[in-house]
Symmetry: C2
Subunit: 339 residues, 2 copies
């Protein structure tokens, strides 16, 4: 257990001390290699005396497995993402993988990030975002690196695994819930207009509403998933043309929107109803009590990592997966109760 401050011991030194060949040491530290019990003990003894630990990077050179997984994201301002983060890192760790984070928030050149992950020889990449430029994940697939796009939508490419939710159906869910309130003027307050998730939810939303021609629908988009964005957008709607019930693209946006409403003197849910999206932890807190649509974060992430694990272990074929989970409405206090 000796520590030799600074300089870390190598294979060779352990071999010398144990009086065996370097291969023997290597084998001792390689799962399922052939070593006699005698040499193994000699090596382990020497290794622990020197405080030896194998250099995983050097090993990766020959094994071609680094254990590194790129985790790419760009929404570092939405509390929901902390949960995502927590789950992903835990799941990955459990599988012996190490997450290498890329914060795309202000990365001027997204392509450069791709390069970087390639240079670090990541075994795979998780893209966790529904607001990245379309085609971003492609670069990895093109480079032959397994990708799973969490919270994405099954897209144009066959070689990108997608795990997420059925956003169209989620839009329908929201529409039905608002309709059940008896509203005849409802609104859709989406996230960034170009995001696929926003578009899909809108599609489902309108799909259901198309059966209710009497109900007026207004459509707006928040610039991003922030409190301010929700606040501002709702504030301007209050001045223009206010509906009775809104489906907001996100819980944080919902909270912003509700603040704008309350500040303008509207009572929720009596005068205006809100249904959010995500069911982040805070949505259940006493001072929020937001009615919202829950996406099964845990399931999505577990599935993503499993999918990755499968690809990484099965050397040969890579069956691309597209798995979408259903969402559910969580009723709290921002929509009127319906029987």
């Amino acid at each position: 257990m000796e520590e030799n401050r600074g300089k870390r011991p190598t294979l060779g030194e352990v071999a010398a001390l144990a009086g065996v060949s370097r291969s023997a040491v290597s084998r001792t530290f390689t799962e399922g290699a052939s070593v006699s019990t005698l040499t193994r003990t000699k090596v382990e003894q020497a290794a622990s005396q020197l405080g030896y630990r194998p250099n995983l990077l050097a090993r990766s050179l020959t094994t071609r497995k680094t254990g590194l997984v790129g985790l790419v994201a760009n929404n570092f301002h939405n509390p929901i993402f902390l949960e995502v983060f927590d789950l992903f890192t835990r799941e990955l760790q459990r599988k012996g993988l190490r997450p290498l984070i890329v914060n795309l928030t202000d990365e001027t050149d997204a392509l450069r990030s791709v390069q970087l992950l390639l240079e670090y020889q990541v075994d795979a990449v998780v893209v966790a975002s529904s607001t990245l430029p379309v085609g971003f994940a492609d670069s990895f697939a093109e480079a032959g690196i397994p990708v799973v796009h969490a919270f994405g939508r099954p897209g144009h490419r066959e070689d990108i695994n997608v795990v997420g939710i059925d956003n169209i159906e989620a839009g329908r869910l929201a529409a039905r819930r608002l309709i059940a309130c008896g509203y005849d003027r409802v609104g859709f307050l989406g996230g960034p207009e170009k995001a696929t998730s926003t578009r899909d939810r809108l599609e489902g939303f309108l799909d259901v509403l198309s059966d209710y021609p009497k109900i007026q629908t207004r459509i707006n988009f928040a610039g991003d998933y922030t409190f301010e964005s929700g606040f501002d957008e709702m504030a301007s709607m209050i001045l223009r043309d206010l509906g009775q019930g809104y489906f907001c693209a996100d819980d944080v946006i919902s909270i912003g929107a509700m603040s704008a409403l309350r500040r303008a003197g509207y009572r929720i849910p009596e005068q205006v109803g809100i249904i959010g999206f995500n069911d982040m932890e805070m949505a259940g807190w006493d001072n929020v009590r937001l009615t919202t649509i829950r996406q099964p974060l845990g399931a999505i992430i577990k599935e993503s990592v499993n999918c990755l694990g499968q690809i990484l272990s099965s050397e040969d074929s890579k069956p691309t997966q597209h798995k979408l989970f259903p969402c559910e409405v969580i009723d709290r206090d921002t929509l009127p109760v319906t029987s």
Copy 2:
């Protein structure tokens, strides 16, 4: 720009194509190495034709710099940490470093994590937490790896850099602010009792109060930095013995505590006042408006990464740094205004 699906080209292949030696290629991709313009163009041409990018891990073998930095944390349930995360990843990226995340939340064996980071040859480690077991950061220092402990307290060891705040002074700040409200029964609702940050803040808090013997003080600790924890602790205080104004260890705890108060029918700040800690984004939201103590997150993190950068660039001496920033009170709506 050709891509050769799956198989990535190596130094040698580029060299062959360019008709130069492998060294020449290596030098072309090494900052400040000696290559003629002619060879450089030939190499660059060949490289881009093959889609070549150097293998950073192989390089690290000889350069002894991986560019990897361990980022160790355990508080993945506090929104403030998302901000911390965002800032750290950005700051590190800006310096060309890549964060390797360790989520210590449920890592059974903290020591094992240390081993792992060592095996990945991280250039340095950032420990971002004030609630890790004392001595956790030590293991890195012992292995000769630069550590900076963000949000820590200057401790028993000389070789661990610490960047954070003066928690004792923060405790004083809170006490003074509560005293200014004219309360004569105040409370301290701390975080985990064993955390150094909690203890320091309590010390400062009591330090100021010791000058006001008339003021009764009650001390309690929340098990962790969560809503529930704050809620439960406050709920039990309501039953036992309620003060007029509380200093809570964290904004999330504050919100939990306030929920308990409101649910029991107390009005804030008229009947009970609260001052929190952190000034997380949400504290400023309309439905919260929490009076709180802000710690300068951005400054702390920038300083941490700078400190790291310095250590990594200056080959020779490693002047240990201890830098503590001051905090400030952010007045909002959960404490009565004072002239």
